[in-house]
């Protein structure tokens, strides 16, 4: 059982506190979604969990040990971080980009070995981009790029996968594919967390939810409890109406407050 947790962690950037005393935990098999309006600190929380930004107060714990005690490479072997906007302006091939996910496992002078190649193949397959493997990433659509970046994260073969707005650039079909992939990974025993402001996708897929506003945790736990109408209306400053689809799925419809 792997666990990743923040314990009253605060994060400041450029002298401004953008995450205040957040306590969150993520463990194997869990699909956690971090929800909040723009600029609420979702991405900050993800970066804290990934060990990319260090907490000024409190701590981040990887398997109950301070994440700072691990080397950058050891953290990278366990935690994959999938950024929202991947910078891809050099014309590497898709296979080359995905193979970069093997970097934390490779020694400085070691060549790519069989397990590296297998991990890359698996990642390409799971993200349904085997047919793109020799394409240049500069020629891909936004959705294809997103899947390439997720595949790079999977190639790490991590215990934890943290995705920042993974469906933001995707069309409906590919967005659902990614969310289903996240579910499948959680079923496989990975711990998966993603940040989003798409409440309806979250309502359908995540098992637990963290609700965040202005750098403060509002609520965390079960999705029914956290995404209550009261919470949603308060945090997103809208009027929310819960309706059921013809197949019985609950969906929010939002209205601007008068």
């Amino acid at each position: 059982m792997n666990t990743l947790a923040t314990n009253h962690a605060s994060i400041s950037r450029n002298g401004r506190c953008i995450l205040r005393s957040a306590t969150v935990s993520l463990s194997s098999g869990q699909l956690l979604s971090i929800v909040g309006p723009n600029g609420s600190g979702k991405s900050t929380l993800l970066r804290a969990l990934a060990g990319l930004w260090h907490a000024s107060e409190g701590e981040v714990l990887l398997n109950s040990q301070p994440i700072k005690a691990f080397s950058r490479k050891d953290v990278a072997k366990r935690i994959a971080f999938v950024p929202q906007e991947a910078l891809m302006d050099f014309s590497f091939t898709v296979a080359e980009i995905v193979a970069m996910g093997r970097h934390p496992h490779r020694g400085r002078f070691s060549r790519e070995n069989t397990s590296d190649r297998e991990a890359v193949e698996n990642a390409l397959e799971r993200c349904d981009i085997v047919h793109l493997r020799d394409r240049l990433v500069t020629t891909l659509s936004g959705g294809e790029r997103q899947r390439v970046v997720i595949a790079r994260g999977l190639a790490v073969d991590p215990d934890f996968i943290l995705l920042d707005e993974p469906t933001a650039n995707l069309d409906v079909e590919h967005g659902l594919e990614i969310l289903e992939l996240c579910c499948a990974l959680a079923k496989d025993g990975k711990a998966v967390a993603f940040a989003t402001h798409d409440l309806n996708a979250v309502a359908r897929y995540a098992s637990s939810v963290v609700l965040i506003q202005n750098g403060k945790l509002i609520d965390a736990g079960d999705r029914e409890q956290v995404l209550s109408r009261k919470n949603v209306e308060e945090v997103f400053r809208v009027r929310a109406e819960l309706v059921a689809t013809d197949q019985g799925h609950p969906v929010y419809v939002f209205h601007r407050r008068p």
């Binding site: 990934a50 990319l52 950058r72 490479k73 953290v75 990278a76 072997k77 935690i79 994959a80 971080f81 950024p83 991947a86 910078l87 891809m88 302006d89 050099f90 014309s91 590497f92 091939t93 080359e96 980009i97 970069m100 996910g101 970097h103 934390p104 490779r106 400085r108 002078f109 085997v130 047919h131 493997r133 020799d134 394409r135 500069t138 790079r152 790490v156």
Partner: protein
């Protein structure tokens, strides 16, 4: 499913094959070009020397027990071994060093238009050299000038780095700005020293000539000064080639994939500064070599730095030998300054590359190749 699988099977190997083919073709073309330009660089000059004589002289130097000096005149040996060979070999290392530094900078700044002098190393080396001229050190020893240039490059880098670092992190954007600011300042100081000594035409002429870059009267000493730094720098860059690939994906991604980005950036800028310093130390300022060569080579062999670094180093060597050959032969008996030639050839190539890219992209803006 079956239709897709078919496409995968037919198209995938073709593209990978094409990539390998292009890399192979690159070396098949480049290596003979490099060999021929080395030979031409030695053969062509005010006293033309037949290639058999060149090989004979080189043979006597490398295999003195096997090849006798019979049939060679003293002047042949002097011209080939003490004048032309060192000049060409220095061109090889300077070209390779500048191109390698360019590859590092372009990856580090994630910008295909970055060039070796960006972190202050170029202007720092120039100022170091100008001080050596003005202080008269150059009269005492041949190595005073190159040493002053290398020290200048490193001091400039340290200054730029210190300016751009806050709380243990050095954002590349700040590094770039600090590099430009310090570079401009150091160039102004060089010009100030030059203008203060312009009455001493002897020194002023030397400085001006040196600022325009050149490989005239380079000796084996210059080779021994420059080559170790370039070899060391090239090896260091190759060892860090995968780190460069990662940095091209952005610092956050690089960090999330296990790269210690701050120490990596320090090591890479140091490598680039050493390469630039060593090149400027023996050849003066040479514009566009470190900018155009990696950029053009990337179009052929792709952006992977493990392939790009050695390919660019060899291409840089060939490019500089040919530029030097042009500098010596285009306007006899005067030599055109090498820095002028590299800029006159490199500039248009660069403009063509830019134009080609924007044309290919259909006017869309996009950086990187």
């Amino acid at each position: 499913m079956s239709a897709r699988a078919e496409i995968v099977q037919t198209s995938a190997p073709v593209v990978a094959e094409r990539q390998r083919l292009r890399l192979g073709l690159f070396y098949v073309v480049l290596l003979p070009v490099l060999a021929i330009s080395i030979l031409a660089g030695i053969a062509i000059g005010s006293t033309p020397i037949p290639w058999q004589t060149i090989l004979h002289v080189i043979g006597t130097k490398f295999f003195p027990h096997w090849v006798s000096t019979a049939g060679l005149s003293d002047s042949d040996i002097v011209i080939v071994w003490l004048i032309r060979v060192p000049r060409v070999i220095v061109a090889v290392f300077v070209g390779a060093g500048l191109a390698t530094a360019g590859v590092i900078m372009q990856a580090l700044f994630r910008n295909p238009l970055a060039e070796p002098g960006l972190v202050g190393a170029g202007p720092g080396a120039v100022l170091g050299a100008v001080i050596a001229f003005v202080a008269g050190w150059t009269l005492h020893s041949v190595i005073a000038l190159p040493l002053a240039a290398i020290v200048g490059a490193l001091l400039a880098l340290v200054l730029v780095y210190a300016m751009a670092t806050r709380g243990g992190t050095t954002p590349v954007a700040t590094l770039l700005l600090a590099g430009i600011a310090v570079g401009t300042l150091l160039s102004a100081l060089s010009s100030l020293l030059l203008s203060l000594h312009i009455v001493d035409w002897q020194i002023a002429q030397e400085i001006v000539f040196w600022m325009m870059g050149g490989l005239d009267s380079r000796t084996w000493t210059h080779f021994w000064i420059c080559a170790p730094f370039v070899l060391l720098g090239l090896a260091a860059a190759m060892i860090q080639s995968r780190d460069l690939d990662l940095l091209q994906q952005g610092e956050e991604t690089a960090a999330s994939l296990g790269l210690d980005i701050e120490s990596s950036k320090r090591l890479l800028t140091l490598t680039a500064a050493l390469l630039t310093g060593a090149a400027v130390a023996v050849a003066g300022l040479l514009a566009f070599v470190g900018l155009v060569v990696p950029h053009a080579v990337r179009l052929v062999v792709g952006p992977s730095n493990r392939r790009l670094l050695p390919a660019s180093a060899l291409a840089g060597a060939a490019f500089l030998i040919l530029c030097d050959l042009a500098a010596r032969t285009l306007h006899p008996p005067t030599e055109i300054r090498l820095g002028v030639v590299t800029a006159l050839i490199g500039g248009p190539i660069f403009i063509w590359l830019l134009w080609r890219r924007s044309w290919e992209a259909g006017g869309e803006s996009g950086s990187g190749q």
